[in-house]
């Protein structure tokens, strides 16, 4: 009666221990390989609980089945055209066939070595098949980066998938660089480029400025020309208007001309002029003598004609 709980306890412990020794779990993120005396006997890629013989007989090897990133070494290689270029390739991979993987590359260090050599060989080979201008080009249409990465993916897939149990999910070039000497040359060219650009910019500015100025002058001329024609038209209206009154002058053209001459004379002598007069002219002769006046007898008109020939200096 009293032994029963103890018995249950002991049995439970034994069963649990046995269960622990004879079973294993495969997580959703893993796959497993069972070896009996070192020989693979089963490959488990589905998650769940599985049974096996206790440890000395059967051994469970677990492999992470998730994506892993492997970054290759930065390495100088040459393109088809012979340009040196430094690339850093990478691959994203996962273990798809545990048994194959276990047989070909078992330890972690070996995996690294294996992936590095694979990546390096294929990357160098693929880069060597393309010109540098297919990586970088003034014409974006000619850049074949994507194609190059696809070629690399195909090459790696072929060599790893069936033979090593590895699935290559993605490969690419994460860095594309140049060696030190080349960078110096690039800087030199970049400087020259800037210099040219600077000249271009200034030249462009100057020509734009000239165009603007010319345009301004042209518009000004056009405007003033248009105005000038209007001015002539207005003046013409004035002259036409005046002509109406000139008809009235025809009543006595001689007198009208006389008046007009006087007016002109006044205008000519208006500004800072020096006039030389004969002492005999009217009214200067008054300076010399008192005239003999004869009442109600008109003067000789000859004198006045002579006067109008006065000289202007």
């Amino acid at each position: 009666m009293r032994r029963l709980p103890k018995l249950i306890l002991v049995t439970a412990i034994v069963v649990l221990l046995g269960f622990k020794l004879c079973s294993y779990q495969v997580r959703e993120t893993e796959s497993a390989l069972i070896t009996r005396f070192g020989k693979p006997i089963a490959e488990k890629t589905e998650p769940g609980l599985y049974f096996k013989l206790p440890t000395p007989f059967d051994v469970v090897h677990k492999f992470d089945s998730r994506l892993q990133v492997f970054e290759g070494q930065q390495e100088e290689t040459t393109t088809k055209g012979g340009e040196p270029v430094i690339i850093t390739p990478y691959m994203i991979w996962q273990i798809s066939q545990p048994q194959l993987f276990f047989e070909r590359v078992s330890t972690d260090r070996e995996v690294q070595k294996f992936l590095l050599s694979q990546l390096r060989n294929h990357a160098n080979a693929v880069v060597g098949k393309h010109y540098f201008s297919e990586f970088v080009n003034t014409d974006p249409e000619k850049i074949k980066f994507e194609q190059i990465e696809n070629e690399l993916l195909q090459a790696l897939k072929e060599s790893t998938e069936d033979e090593y149990g590895i699935t290559v999910a993605s490969v690419g070039i994460k860095k594309l660089e140049l060696n030190e000497e080349v960078t110096e040359a690039v800087f030199e060219r970049m400087r020259a480029d800037r210099q040219r650009k600077k000249e271009d910019i200034l030249g462009e500015g100057r020509s734009t400025a000239t165009r603007i100025r010319t345009d301004a002058d042209k518009k000004k001329q056009q405007l003033l020309a248009a105005v000038e024609s209007r001015v002539i038209a207005i003046k013409g209206e004035g002259d036409a208007g005046a002509a109406k009154y000139y008809k009235m002058l025809q009543d006595d053209p001689e007198l009208a001309m006389y008046l007009r001459d006087l007016e002109a004379l006044a205008k000519i002598l208006e500004n800072r002029s020096t006039v030389v007069l004969g002492a005999e002219t009217d009214p200067m002769k008054l300076l010399r003598e008192v005239p003999e006046l004869e009442s109600s007898k008109p003067k000789d008109s000859k004198a006045s004609k002579q006067d109008s020939e006065n000289k202007e200096k």
Partner: protein
């Protein structure tokens, strides 16, 4: 005492009866400790099952693995929503809590230059091992296409990638390698750290490929947002192809610049750009000033109307009246000329018609009077008047009288004038 009990456990009661009071107390104590032990066992068993209770926080979702296999509910969903849940205790069930909504930041500075001291002088070259950079294509230059076919520039940039796993936490759990959590670590940090190489690699690739398509000027100035968009799309596409369940919330260019080695040249070309705009501004100023002087602020519109042959009479008149400046000056001069000419002609005509009756009666007198009046007026305005004595006895002699001389002329001529006065 112990020996007795161990040897004869079935006779315990009889013996207890025979025991002295001391032994009895001891037996009681032992019984009590058994009871306590039992209680503890029961509590432990309860605790063991209670340990399966777990909470999923608001910003998390959980995945339950039973014997290594993801537990799905009837609808096939593997994710446990936030709240209180119960699972079978270890080692049957395993709970993985995944922070889904928290945005994680990742800085990508693989393309930034190596600067041991802040702002130190750059070397002549870039060392590909220390210095990071991308290549950008060069611009096409007219007439240089062939030479520049493989031409390129160097650009440095620094990025930030913000991401979450809210889209598909199961895919993330299934496909992305996350290292196991050690004591004292937060799962969140383990995720960040584990995903970093993958995200950095995918982003690097996208950045290298995208920048190769742009020129350096586009990269550092005009096309930043296009580049960001393109890189983001590329990264997202690849992460989706890999079924990582990661969503790129956004990517930002933190810094992007030309190499320090060519800084001077770039600054000079930027300055040239500024110079260009000042040259152009100057020209525009001249343009405005010229037109403004010629025709005022609305000169250009007016000119358009005047040059347009389909303009109506009213429009043209309006255009002329809008003008100010030189144009309006010319126009108003013309208008005043017109007025003056007409008015003068009119005045002359009137004068003549008034004078005529008198003139016909006494022509000589009228002529003489008008002549005198006019001479008086004319000589009044003249600066210098010289009166000459006509020649007598064949010898020229002058007689001069100075009337109202302009003072400015006097200074120059006074000497000679006095001499000649003396001769007289």
């Amino acid at each position: 005492m112990n020996e007795i009990e161990n040897k004869n456990p079935e006779n315990q009661q009889d013996i207890t009866a025979d025991m002295d009071s001391g032994s009895k107390a001891l037996a009681d104590a032992l019984k009590l400790s058994f009871a306590v032990l039992k209680l503890i066992m029961i509590v432990l068993i309860i605790l063991f099952f209670a340990s399966g209770v777990y909470t999923v926080e608001k910003n998390e979702k959980a995945i339950v693995l039973r014997l290594g296999k993801v537990v799905r509910d009837a609808s096939g969903t593997s994710l446990k929503e936030p709240g209180l849940h119960w699972a079978l205790p270890y080692p049957i069930d395993e709970i993985v809590k995944i922070p889904v909504t928290a945005t994680q930041k990742l800085e990508i500075d693989d393309f930034w230059y190596f600067d041991p001291e802040q702002g130190s002088r750059p070397g002549q070259t870039l060392n590909p091992i220390r210095d990071g950079y991308c290549l950008t294509r060069n611009e096409e230059v007219q007439g240089y296409e062939d030479q520049l076919a493989t031409d390129y520039n160097i650009v440095h940039c620094k990025w930030q990638l913000n991401w979450t796993i809210e889209d598909d936490p199961y895919a993330f759990f299934r496909n992305v390698k996350v290292r196991s959590v050690r004591p004292g670590e937060l799962y969140r940090d383990v995720i960040s750290e584990s995903v970093e190489p993958l995200l950095t690699t995918v982003a690097d690739d996208a950045i290298v490929r995208t920048l190769a398509k742009y020129s350096i000027d586009q990269a550092v100035t005009t096309s930043k947002s296009n580049i960001t968009r393109e890189v983001t799309a590329r990264v997202q596409k690849r992460l989706r192809e890999l079924s990582t369940g990661i969503r790129v919330r956004d990517m930002q260019i933190l810094k992007i610049t030309w190499p320090r080695q060519v800084d001077q040249a770039f600054l000079a070309s930027i300055k040239a750009g500024q110079n260009r705009s000042s040259i152009e501004t100057e020209a525009w100023t001249y343009y405005e000033k010229t037109l403004n002087e010629a025709g005022g602020p609305r000169a250009e519109e007016s000119l358009k109307v005047l040059l347009d042959e389909s303009s109506t009479e009213a429009e043209i008149r309006r255009a002329y009246s809008d003008l100010t400046g030189q144009a309006s000056k010319n126009l108003s001069e013309a208008r005043s000329y017109k007025t003056k000419v007409i008015e003068t002609a009119k005045a002359n005509a009137n004068y003549l018609s008034q004078l005529l009756p008198e003139y016909r009666k006494r022509p000589e007198l009228v002529i003489e009077r008008i002549y005198q009046d006019n001479m008086e007026q004319i000589l009044d305005t003249v600066d210098e008047k010289i009166i000459v004595q006509p020649a007598k006895q064949g010898k020229d002699r002058e007689f001069r009288v100075l009337i109202s001389r302009n003072p400015s002329i006097k200074d120059k001529k006074s000497g000679s004038d006095e001499n000649q006065n003396g001769n007289q």
